[in-house]
């Protein structure tokens, strides 16, 4: 997707007579790419949703319903129309921001997403912060001590994070830190006692509680999110630290590092400022991608921690053939990927003076 926007943005225009100004070209290219990407996304999800061997009417009315109730629901869902017509109706509605209603929740899909996405956003952001704050220094240390015990330690720690199933890690984490040690609160986003104290503004409890000035609620929400965020973050930590290490190794063998050492700069300054400074550019893409992965919603983590996020929402909807909800959720995930790619592009330009 990013590459597409790049090409469109920087593609040569041969005509000398009508040269569009650069920013307009960038925006135009962007809009085209976004439009095509979304359309592709809609087409693929829509038709996959229609070929799965599940009868969506049956999923809506249930097994015991009478023939007349079944027919009525079929018409209400618009499923009596030919497939191409259903698709046109859907695209037309989406174009004006109407994703339809979810069969499962009785709500407009857009309202559901407004409710579940902030929960995922909050969790994914905390997880990514955890992964970045620990992952980058670990990667740097591993690179600097290449082949010695700190490197091995980071490698083993990272491999564990990458290979142990999240589901198991989550349950063991709960058993240890919640059930036995009482260090963190249990599954869910808040204790019952704190429910309803804060009005939803952003839907992210950590933010909303601060806005409302409810410090107790903030700490309770924090104690609920800590464990799932760490477990999610562990996965990105593993990835980020491995990538940081390999980027750093590449930089540390460059000539400018030798020059810096010859000039007598302190080792700390060489590693943390010069080498890491250059590593930040490709690292931004790595972080953005792993953030985007977490934002899809991690179904298993969400189930273990009873976290009402996007992952559970989409999975549930898919299993129940609630196609409006699946399509809506997919468009959100797609948008997240596209905008994070865009963001990393912009950051890339800011961090690297050569990328103009």
């Amino acid at each position: 997707m990013t590459n597409g926007s790049h090409n469109a943005a920087t593609g040569e225009v041969n005509s000398t007579r009508f040269r569009l100004p650069q920013p307009v070209k960038v925006v135009l290219g962007l809009v085209t790419t976004l439009g095509l990407t979304f359309l592709g996304l809609l087409v693929v999800t829509f038709f996959i949703g229609r070929v799965v061997p599940i009868d969506p009417v049956l999923a809506a009315v249930g097994d015991h319903a009478s023939a007349s109730a079944y027919e009525k629901a079929k018409i209400e869902l618009g499923l009596h129309l030919p497939l191409w017509q259903q698709f046109l109706v859907y695209v037309k509605n989406v174009a004006v921001g109407d994703f339809g209603e979810s069969v499962l929740t009785a709500n407009p899909v857009i309202d559901d997403i407004k409710r579940v996405f902030p929960a995922t956003l909050e969790l994914a952001s905390m997880g990514t912060i955890f992964g970045v704050v620990l992952g980058i220094p670990m990667g740097v240390i591993a690179a600097v001590h290449k082949g010695r015990w700190p490197d091995q330690l980071v490698r083993v720690f990272g491999l564990l994070g990458y290979s142990v199933p999240v589901f198991w890690l989550g349950l063991v984490g709960l058993l240890l830190f919640y059930a036995k040690l009482d260090w963190v609160a249990g599954p869910g986003r808040l204790d019952i006692a704190y429910e309803y104290l804060v009005d939803p503004v952003t839907g992210m409890l950590l933010v909303d509680s601060l806005i409302a000035g409810e410090i107790d609620v903030f700490f309770n929400a924090f104690s609920h999110i800590a464990l799932p965020a760490i477990i999610l973050g562990y996965f990105s930590l593993a990835y980020i630290s491995r990538m940081t290490r390999s980027f750093m190794l590449e930089q540390l063998s460059q000539e400018y590092i030798i020059t810096a050492r010859v000039k007598g700069l302190s080792e700390t300054r060489i590693i943390w400022r010069h080498a890491l400074g250059n590593v930040m550019v490709p690292l931004v893409t790595v972080i953005a991608l792993s953030y985007a992965n977490l934002l899809e919603g991690s179904v298993l983590t969400e189930i273990v921690f009873a976290w009402p996020g996007l992952g559970q929402y989409i999975t549930n909807s898919l299993l129940q053939a609630d196609m409006n909800a699946v399509l809506g959720g997919t468009v959100v995930v797609g948008s997240v990927f596209i905008s994070l790619n865009l963001l990393s592009d912009i950051l890339y330009r800011l961090l690297d003076p050569r990328a103009k």
């Binding site: 249930g62 007349s68 009525k72 429910e195």
Partner: protein
């Protein structure tokens, strides 16, 4: 470097804010359940386990039955009733003094409106009422309030009185607040869109909040006309993972765990703070044998398969207290339920029957199997016992909706299923297991007998006669006879009856586990 590590260590310690409350508030019942099946809060549409439980605690119906003995029917919103001599007209006298949470009084008009509305909306459970001859066109004449305290219902035939009465105890017969609902009507939808996520009832609890797949919160209805519940609030959290439910329960963050697996329940044994309780539910587990299959259509093969299921083994090892052996289509607790269990695992007998059918060398079959843990394990047990008699069974796993779609299209050999009754009258299961009025491929209704292509004109007539028998004792006899025949000849291997098990903290008492899902009640719950 050192400073950085220090900062990381401090940040790590900051995560470990201790949990503030380990106990739930004294006046609040907190439960963990899987409530992702709730798709609506409108009683005219509710047809899911958790939804029915919600309606059972929030809406009053005209009549109810005693949980311990369902044959004892009593008035709720109706104080008394009488039946005309021809058996077609029912007259209900309404109980005075009941108010909806809006403050409106509950009258016969509300009761008539609620039933009419359910029939006009024609949602999934509507057949429970339309089977008495009501249609959207005639219902306003057939069900009517003659004054504020009198409701008249006219059925098309003289049915067994309990048939109608039990149907009036079902969720779909909940009385909704006509004024309130109609105030929210959009495009002639009788307030359906609004009521899907809102509340207009009069019973012990009222809706505070429903967040799909997250939480359902009920508050006590302080204006309830009967005895007030002790709990001010009931919070039902959606916790999909049973292991998580167990942790929350042990920790005291919830009072009752509703969806524990056999493993979790076994793990909790010996914990003095936690008590497990159970109640028999109406759902039965069964195998459906398609009569389109050349082997399964032979009577000896059907009979043989009934001797090739390890009923006891499944009950004791796979279901461990969550189901009990049962072999007739009417579950225990229903009028006329047959409790005889003539079948047990008997490979020799089965082999003899197969030889009689000319199939001594065995044959192959497939079984569509929902990919949940319990159903899959049952299927594997059946696969191994079938193999002992030379039948090669291939298990085709699939998501529940997927296997069901295939079953309803009659594309299976064997389907392993679970069927829950829709109301408390025996006709509910007779209607689907023992009636098949039209066996053609494009039949309008798809009862279980139809799905297995079992053409039974004579048995259909028998079932129809039973529903018209007005003498309860005679009617029970008719169902017993019907089940005895069905048990032997039908393409259904009924195996087990469901048991619902809850685990509660020792200080929590009074949660009622009723025979139907809308009989699970919270109003007697107390906490020490």
């Amino acid at each position: 470097m050192r400073r950085l590590l220090g900062a990381v260590a401090i940040a790590a310690m900051a995560w470990t804010t201790p949990a503030a409350f380990a106990e739930t508030p004294k006046d609040t019942l907190v439960m963990a359940n899987a409530i992702d099946d709730i798709i609506t809060l409108d009683p005219a549409e509710i047809f899911e386990f958790s939804g029915a439980e919600y309606a059972g605690n929030t809406y009053d119906r005209l009549i109810g039955y005693e949980i311990e003995d369902v044959s004892k029917i009593y008035g709720v919103a109706a104080e008394s009733w009488s039946i005309s001599d021809d058996g077609k007209t029912y007259t209900f006298k309404m109980r005075p003094g009941i108010k909806f949470i809006s403050g409106n009084p509950l009258t016969a008009e509300d009761a008539a409106f609620s039933l009419q509305r359910a029939i006009i909306l024609d949602k999934s459970p509507a057949f429970i009422l339309t089977q008495f001859g009501f249609t959207p066109e005639n219902v306003k004449d057939k069900i009517r309030a003659t004054d504020d305290s009198t409701l008249v219902i006219e059925t098309d035939q003289a049915y067994a009185p309990t048939f109608l009465l039990y149907c009036l105890t079902a969720t779909i017969s909940s009385v909704v607040d006509k004024k309130e609902v109609m105030a929210h009507e959009q495009d002639g939808d009788l307030g359906h869109k609004w009521l899907r996520t809102n509340f207009a009832g009069s019973s012990t609890f009222k809706l505070r909040q429903w967040k799909a797949n997250e939480v359902l919160v009920l508050d006590r209805n302080d204006d309830y006309w009967g005895e007030l519940p002790a709990m001010k609030r009931v919070v039902i959290r959606h916790i999909a993972e049973p292991a998580t439910q167990r942790l929350l329960l042990e920790k005291g963050d919830i009072d009752i765990a509703r969806k524990l697996g056999a493993d979790q329940l076994a793990g909790l044994e010996g914990n003095a703070d936690i008590r497990a309780r159970q109640g028999e539910k109406g759902a039965v587990y069964y195998l459906g044998l398609s009569q389109k299959n050349e082997f399964l259509s032979k009577p000896q093969v059907r009979q043989a398969l009934k001797y090739l299921v390890d009923y006891k083994g499944i009950e004791q090892t796979i279901m461990k207290g969550k189901a009990t052996v049962h072999q007739a289509f009417l579950p225990k607790g229903f009028l006329g339920a047959l409790t005889e269990t003539p079948f047990s695992l008997d490979v020799e007998k089965a082999k003899a029957l197969l030889a009689e059918a000319g199939l001594a060398d065995g044959f192959s079959l497939t079984m569509d199997t929902r990919n949940t843990a319990e159903i899959t394990e049952m299927a594997q047990s059946i696969q191994s016992t079938f193999a002992q008699a030379g039948i090669k069974l291939e298990i085709i796993p699939g998501d529940g909706k997927q296997t069901l779609t295939k079953y309803r299209a009659r594309n299976h050999d064997i389907y392993i299923g679970r069927w829950g009754p829709d109301y408390q009258d025996p006709h509910t299961n007779a209607d689907t297991f023992a009636r098949n009025p039209d066996n053609s491929d494009d039949a309008k209704s798809k009862p279980l007998a139809w799905r297995n292509s079992w053409d039974i004109p004579a048995m259909t007539k028998q079932a129809d006669a039973a529903v018209l028998e007005r003498d309860a004792a005679k009617r029970a006899e008719m169902y017993l006879a019907l089940q005895r025949e069905h048990q032997q000849v039908s393409p259904f291997v009924v195996m087990l009856q469901d048991i619902e098990v809850i685990a509660e903290r020792a200080n929590t008492k009074g949660f009622i586990i009723g025979p139907a899902f809308d009989d699970n009640r919270y109003h007697k719950v107390t906490k020490d």
